[in-house]
């Protein structure tokens, strides 16, 4: 009985999930207007005050795990722990103002029914309010503040993610009113994933692939695309060039919905960051705030793994750095990490070594494709 009280044992809907709605521009504007009216009501009441902003806490302590009841899909999400932004605390006053400034910008963008990227927004705010914005990171965090204040997705606010993601392989894509794009003919540069989630949502996609392969590194992706690995292994290749952005996750999620029979596998370095990237594709991340839970996919770990180390020379194993150990610790502390992944991570920490995918080139450039094919055929993924 006691277990039932643990958050992880509850059903998804019982876990007091805080999520961001996907809204139309006019709905978001209405929320901003309500926020403004509430602010003014409190400011002009008989007992006037400057209202605090209640934000969903984006700390790991507020992270919860949702496990699919009938499927393997799991995701992380934020629960109902709040923190506040207040003008009255001198060291937090700027953060408070930033929230209102970003809301103002979003309101105007939505009025014009336009969209902007985080980068564009940063420069706009930098010109408009240099005292309050000095880095892209501040802008990105403030956007997440607004997302968690208004409970609507970043995209609903009129902000496009600038995506780093690319896709290649056996996938036909058609944007509305455009020609069909064959991703196997895009060369090593692949098809660039748009940051416009609305566009991605309306993509028509077809495939004869049997696998979807996530590649951590851009260079490896280019090598595989150039070698047309998807001809030997009927597959779609996708990379976010490191940690995935929302748009890349969104597209992957759409592919997994459209082609539910295709297993999704990840090719990452054998180090804690590699596993962390895999986990972000799989479950989402705290940094994605209230939208983290939305695009979870059942991603399997193809390689590199502990037993692959026999394939690579001893010299290519490098000692783990303090940063690696920090990431390992963070992953270990998460209840979402599945047992086999946890064992691999423990092995990394125990050996004190890390290995990169490129080490497989030791036996020739074409060795990487052969390695992947062999593992897929043997269903050697976890």
């Amino acid at each position: 009985m006691e277990d039932l009280c643990k958050p992880s044992m509850k059903f998804f809907t019982d876990q007091e999930i805080c999520y961001a709605d996907i809204l139309t521009p006019s709905e978001v504007r209405a929320r901003i207007e309500v926020a403004m009216l509430n602010f003014l009501k409190i400011l002009t009441s008989p007992d006037p005050a400057i209202s605090d902003l209640p934000l969903v806490n984006r700390k790991t302590s507020n992270r919860r795990v949702s496990r699919g009841v009938l499927t393997d899909d799991s995701s992380i999400f934020l629960s109902r722990s709040f923190c506040t932004r207040s003008l009255m605390r001198a060291n937090a006053a700027k953060a408070f103002i930033r929230v209102w400034k970003v809301m103002e910008m979003c309101f105007k963008i939505l009025l014009q029914e336009k969209r902007t990227t985080q980068r564009e927004l940063f420069y706009k705010l930098l010109c408009d309010s240099p005292d309050y914005f000095s880095s892209q990171l501040q802008v990105n965090r403030t956007i997440q503040d607004v997302v968690s204040l208004l409970r609507c997705s970043r995209y609903s606010l009129g902000i496009m993610a600038s995506s780093r993601g690319i896709v290649a392989g056996r996938l036909l894509l058609q944007e509305p009113d455009k020609e069909v794009v064959d991703c196997s003919e895009c060369g090593s540069s692949g098809y660039a994933i748009s940051g416009d989630l609305n566009l991605l949502d309306r993509l028509v996609m077809k495939t004869d692939a049997r696998y979807i392969i996530i590649v951590e590194k851009h260079a490896i992706f280019q090598r595989l695309a150039e070698d047309r690995v998807f001809n030997q292994i009927p597959s779609i290749l996708i990379t976010a060039k490191g940690y995935p952005d929302i748009a890349t996750r969104f597209l992957l999620h759409r592919m997994s919905q459209n082609f539910p029979e295709l297993p999704i596998m990840a090719l990452v370095d054998w180090n804690p960051a590699g596993l962390a990237i895999l986990c972000t594709f799989k479950f989402g991340s705290i940094g994605m705030g209230l939208e983290a839970y939305r695009y979870s996919c059942n991603v399997k770990w193809l390689g590199l793994r502990g037993h692959d180390l026999q394939l690579i020379p001893e010299e290519s194993l490098v000692p783990l750095k303090p940063r690696d150990l920090q990431i390992a610790e963070s992953l270990m502390s998460s209840e979402i990490l599945q047992e086999k992944h946890r064992e691999e991570l423990a092995l990394m920490v125990q050996s004190g070594k890390r290995a990169e995918i490129e080490a497989l080139y030791f036996h020739g450039y074409d060795n990487l494709g052969k390695y992947m094919a062999k593992k897929i055929v043997q269903a050697n993924y976890i």
Binding site: E16, R29, E33, A35, M36, L37, N38, F39, L40, K41, I42, L43, A49, I50, S51, D52, L53, P54, N57, R58, T60, R63, R80, S81, F82, C83, T84, R85, S86, L87, M88, R89, A90, A92, A93, K94, A95, I97, W100, K101, E104, F107, K108, L111, S129, D131, Y132, R141, L149, Y243, A276, T280, F283, S285, I286, G287, I327, S330, L331, S334
Partner: protein, 361 residues
């Protein structure tokens, strides 16, 4: 009573700590003063002068001094000192200074000091009120002349900002109900010329016109050498009360450094809020905003909305600042129901740069 002997001080502004233990003041004044000049002086126990002066026609206190030199210097200083005593503005008190020199037979110098008659209060006026009016008159006079009013500095006393405070000890077997009263007068435009440290105050900085930050430490208040712990405690309390009184009566001055910092964000915030409201294409929304702000639609032009919001924000910050010391009121949330229903609610601070991202990011 102590009056700082800062003769080089610009007297436009002055803080006086008045010890309202009148009896001890009267018997010790001359002695303290003379000690400053390094002279020998012994006072015999004097009859109670206070009640005597009021209730009978007898003369008050007589102090006899014997000195051997520099009588002129002494006379001018004594004059000056008694003039300063008039700041107390105690009704029906007169001081007569009579000097007869033994070495010059027949010589006689007389001077009578009367309290300010221009604005005589009723006899029931409290000490602190007397001191307040006396100090005001004093401040309006130029330099240390004590007699001339300065019309170039202040045309009227309207520009003076006055605060009063009082602290009492309860009567017990140790003390006899001591009371401290403090009057503080400041004028902002000469803040920088005052030697604040003489009063245990440190002037932090002056921000723009009309806005200033005064940093002061209790430990360096003008406590004097002869004060007991109880007296020191009461002076601190009374000075604090007077400063709070000053803050309450004159919103916008003497804001804490914290409030000044928060206020500096008001224009930026007001600009964004006003811009958001004015950019809307929804007349109902705008109308509701204007009516909340108490603005008529025909008044709306240019910076009206921004100025109005800014004034309201600053007024809340100032009001909060005056509440310091008392328990601050609970600040409402922008979306109230949300958080009240929340069983997991934690009032966690979420300070700048504290965002914690997992390594999955």
């Amino acid at each position: 009573m102590e009056v700082s002997s800062a003769s080089n001080l610009c007297l436009h502004s002055l803080i006086l700590v008045l010890e309202a233990a009148w009896r001890s003041f009267r018997t010790s004044t001359a002695a303290v003063f003379l000690r400053n000049f390094g002279m020998e002086c012994s006072l015999s126990k004097l009859p109670n002068p206070y009640s005597a002066a009021f209730q009978s026609q007898e003369r008050g206190t007589e102090v006899c001094l014997s000195i051997s030199e520099s009588i002129d210097v002494l006379v001018s200083e004594i004059n000056h000192f008694f003039q300063k005593m008039l700041i107390l503005n105690v009704p029906n008190i007169a001081i007569e200074l009579v000097i007869e020199r033994e070495d010059i037979p027949g010589s006689r110098y007389e001077n009578v000091f009367l309290a300010n008659r221009s604005n005589p209060g009723p006899l029931s006026t409290s000490n602190v009120e007397c001191l307040k009016s006396g100090l005001k008159d004093y401040v309006l006079k130029h330099g240390n002349s004590l007699t001339q009013k300065c019309n170039t500095c202040f045309a009227t006393s309207k520009h003076l900002k006055v605060g009063t405070g009082m602290a009492c000890s309860t009567e017990s077997h140790k003390s006899s109900g001591l009371m401290m009263e403090v009057v503080i007068i400041i004028t902002l435009n000469v803040l920088s010329t005052i030697e604040w440290q003489n009063y245990g105050l440190t002037l932090g900085k002056i921000v723009d016109q009309g806005e200033c930050v005064l940093e002061w430490e209790h430990s360096t208040l003008p406590l004097g050498r002869h004060k007991t712990q109880l007296e020191q405690h009461l002076i601190k309390k009374a000075v604090k009360a007077a400063l709070n009184n000053l803050k309450e009566k004159h919103p916008g001055i003497l804001l804490s450094a914290h409030a000044v910092k928060i206020c500096s964000h008001a224009p930026g915030l007001a600009r964004s809020l006003a811009s958001l409201i004015l950019s809307s294409n929804d007349p109902d929304f705008q109308g509701e905003c204007f009516s909340l702000l108490g603005l008529q639609s025909r008044e709306i032009r240019g910076d009206t909305v921004e100025d109005c919001i800014q004034a309201k924000i600053i007024s809340v910050i100032e009001m909060n600042d005056r509440k310091s010391g008392q328990r601050k009121t609970v600040v409402p949330f922008l979306f109230e129901d949300d958080c009240h229903q929340d069983s997991n609610y934690q009032d966690k601070e979420y300070e700048e740069g504290e965002d914690e991202f997992s390594y999955w990011d």
